[in-house]
Symmetry: C2
Subunit: 144 residues, 2 copies
DNA sequence: TTCAGCAGTCTCTACTCAAGACCTATCGTC
DNA sequence: GACGATAGGTCTTGAGTAGAGACTGCTGAA
């Protein structure tokens, strides 16, 4: 990075590339994929399915405060993206099982990295929030 | 894969732990932190700041389709979480510079991992979406 | 004088999320 | 045969939130 020292060259270069391509929303993997990861429920569902395949009601019990509507919708989104597969068993009341596809399993690694970071940093983040909310904006008035 | 075999033991164990703790939203780092990462703008801003500190208008130009309102709000959130710091320079029109804090820089690694996965998987995801939208639900009707 | 740029704030609209009622089907119970 | 339970969802109805874009106060330049 010629302009200034870079904190993280690969990411910075990435950003310049995206910028050069005009941030086309359809072409930008970050916009596309992180929107799904951050979808409040989808990442939680991926983790829930990491252990084993689960049925609809089982998922509903496993993730307590999700509504059926959002569970349905999140699973459809994940299915549409090819991260989970849906298996219908023609039992008397039909039962439906959701499992991670190979693509979904390949997301577990990066996701685990992020979760690990989240757990390691959570105390610091909570402290920062408390300080901020207490009015300590920790702003620097720097010299011009 | 037998029903109870785990795809990814660490994550699965994590999930059981969260479940045991009742998914307390305040105590769950995932809910807390991933909501921010997936916030549509915040991760993009982190990447934008990875290269170098930037000023408000500079960020607004760098991320073209964010509104000032959302830019302000996203930066406040990041500042509150201690991921970015805000530096005010008392120049004639006051200029404000945002930079990644050490905590914010520590997020670049995991974030880069996720972005790398996103780029590698994007073609597959797009293909899956196209197939799904074309009506190929790729559902398995399995034997009971 | 008027304009442009900086760093935001304010308001208004439109969309989306979440809760919970409801639906279809089958089984077991009375 | 009616009654409720279970399974896997859909529909309806508020409430909250994102986004567009106008506005503010200040300065220096044309």
């Amino acid at each position: 990075m010629p302009r200034n020292a870079s904190f993280d060259a690969p990411l910075a270069t990435q950003f310049d590339e995206w910028q050069a391509r005009g941030f086309d929303a359809d072409a930008c993997p970050v916009r596309n994929v992180l929107d799904r990861i951050g979808d409040k429920w989808t990442s939680l569902l991926i983790v829930a399915l990491a252990a084993k395949p689960r049925r609809f009601s089982e998922l509903h019990r496993a993730v307590p405060d999700i509504s059926k509507r959002m569970l349905t919708q999140s699973l459809r989104d994940l299915q549409r993206d090819g991260l989970v597969t849906r298996h219908v068993f023609p039992t008397k009341p039909p039962s439906v099982e959701y499992r991670l596809s190979p693509l979904g399993q390949s997301a577990l690694g990066p996701l685990a990295g992020l979760i690990d970071w989240a757990e390691r940093s959570f105390a610091e983040i909570k402290a920062s929030r408390a300080a901020f909310d207490a009015g300590d904006t920790s702003e620097q008035i720097s010299a011009a």
